[in-house]
């Protein structure tokens, strides 16, 4: 059998196309939720550094928990499958997004805020028209960190029956199916590098367009 035949056979036997779709589905949901929650929390606390610090301390502790151990704690509440996987992704990814968004919103140079006030913008207008756009480059680099986290955790979801590309990896290891391991690992690795690359391009574009830092 040629290499291509082996790959094709692994691909069909392990339903890699289906697994990839499941994988990216969980990835997208988790990423969107993380961004929404992370940015919202940052908006809620940006004018209150003390409150922000409490949040960051709590999230920091969550960040230290091994992914599998976090799964274990979510299982009794959310059961097996996609839900605990997505929940874990979000719990890990809020911190990088929220911290970067907070830094971006709270540390806009005072002169811009002064000018905005001087031309008569309200606090909310300043948030929407000045702070948020200026924080975009920082938020996007927080999102890039989250992309890498979520890719990793969604892959682990295979271990708790969430489907996705962790399934062929686990099957390959349990059955000592070397071709399956190689194909699945390289495919997951490629996806990880690819999405990080996309995120990097977006981050770079934004940073180049307006980098107030």
């Amino acid at each position: 059998m040629t290499v291509i035949d082996t790959i094709l056979s692994v691909w069909t036997v392990h339903q890699i196309t289906l697994r990839t779709i499941q994988h990216l589905y969980m990835f997208s949901i988790a990423l969107i939720l993380s961004i929404l929650i992370g940015v919202t929390l940052a908006i809620l606390v940006y004018s209150n550094p003390k409150l922000a610090n409490i949040w960051f301390n709590v999230l920091n502790v969550i960040e230290m928990i091994p992914e599998l151990a976090l799964f274990i704690f979510l299982l009794p509440i959310l059961g097996l499958g996609e839900k605990p996987t997505i929940a874990a992704c979000v719990l890990y990814s809020i911190l990088p997004i929220m911290r970067n968004a907070y830094t971006g919103l709270a540390h806009v140079s005072n002169e811009y805020i002064e000018i905005a006030r001087a031309i008569g913008l309200t606090k909310n207008e300043i948030l929407l028209k000045i702070r948020l756009p200026m924080a975009l480059p920082l938020i996007s680099s927080g999102i890039r960190v989250a992309v890498v986290y979520i890719m990793g955790i969604v892959t682990l979801g295979g271990l708790i029956a969430a489907g996705g590309l962790g399934v062929p990896l686990q099957a390959g290891i349990y059955r000592y199916d070397i071709p399956a391991i190689i194909v699945a690992a390289l495919w997951v690795g490629t996806l990880g590098v690819f999405f990080d690359f996309i995120a990097w391009i977006i981050e770079n574009r934004l940073a180049r367009r307006f980098n107030p830092w």
């Binding site: 230290m64 091994p66 992914e67 990793g152 271990l159 000592y176 391991i181 690992a185 990080d196």
Partner: protein
């Protein structure tokens, strides 16, 4: 509940995995970082490779170790080193490379050799960055050490996987809780070590 003796063994095994990997990680990262500071091309290659490795899901790293190294304790360590070395190299490099040029200049002007500048100027000023990297790396190592149980490295992950397979929540918790406590103490250990080192005289 689970018997205490096997749990104790698992914790010990887990700590051995984590600390062996960290030690190897530091030994590999230090020369890489120092070379990167002095040679632009090396730094470019190292940073590119490292950024790519960082974006590969840890499960894929652990899995790909099987065809390359096999299964057991050593492949486990290899996987952990691979997955956790990135923040050490990155932070060490950034910490050492970003030193104020004026300080390097005076150091040279005073008659310090390049290595003495690393030892007396760059390194102590990079401590905060380096320790942040070490802390992060230890946390990641602890996480991957749980995962490497799937390729037979032993440790607390084994108890978790056994518990998952038999739907025994108590068993999974008896693996997960020590793993979390280890993570928290690693964070604390490195914070304390940093303070100790900082309060010491530079020479």
């Amino acid at each position: 509940m689970v018997a205490l003796a096997p749990l104790f063994d698992a914790i010990l095994q887990h700590l051995t995995l984590v600390f062996t990997s960290l030690a190897i990680g530091i030994c590999l990262a230090t020369p890489l970082a120092i070379f990167s500071v002095f040679y632009k091309r090396v730094s470019y290659v190292v940073l590119t490779v490292i950024n790519m490795v960082q974006s590969i899901p840890s499960f894929a790293l652990v899995a790909i170790i099987v065809p390359l190294v096999g299964i057991g304790f050593v492949p486990g360590v290899v996987a952990i080193v691979l997955g956790s070395i990135v923040p050490i190299v990155k932070n060490m490099y950034v910490g050492l490379a970003k030193t104020d040029i004026a300080l390097i200049d005076t150091g040279k002007g005073m008659g310090l050799t390049d290595l003495q500048i690393v030892r007396y100027v760059r390194l102590p000023l990079a401590y905060p960055a380096i320790f942040a990297g070490l802390k992060f790396s230890a946390i990641i190592a602890n996480g991957i050490a749980v995962l490497t149980a799937i390729i037979g490295s032993g440790g607390l992950g084994r108890i978790i996987f056994e518990g998952l397979a038999s739907f025994n929540i108590n068993k999974t918790l008896s693996g997960a809780i020590p793993a979390i406590l280890i993570a928290l103490s690693l964070d604390m250990i490195f914070s304390i070590a940093e303070k100790k080192l900082k309060s010491k005289s530079v020479y």
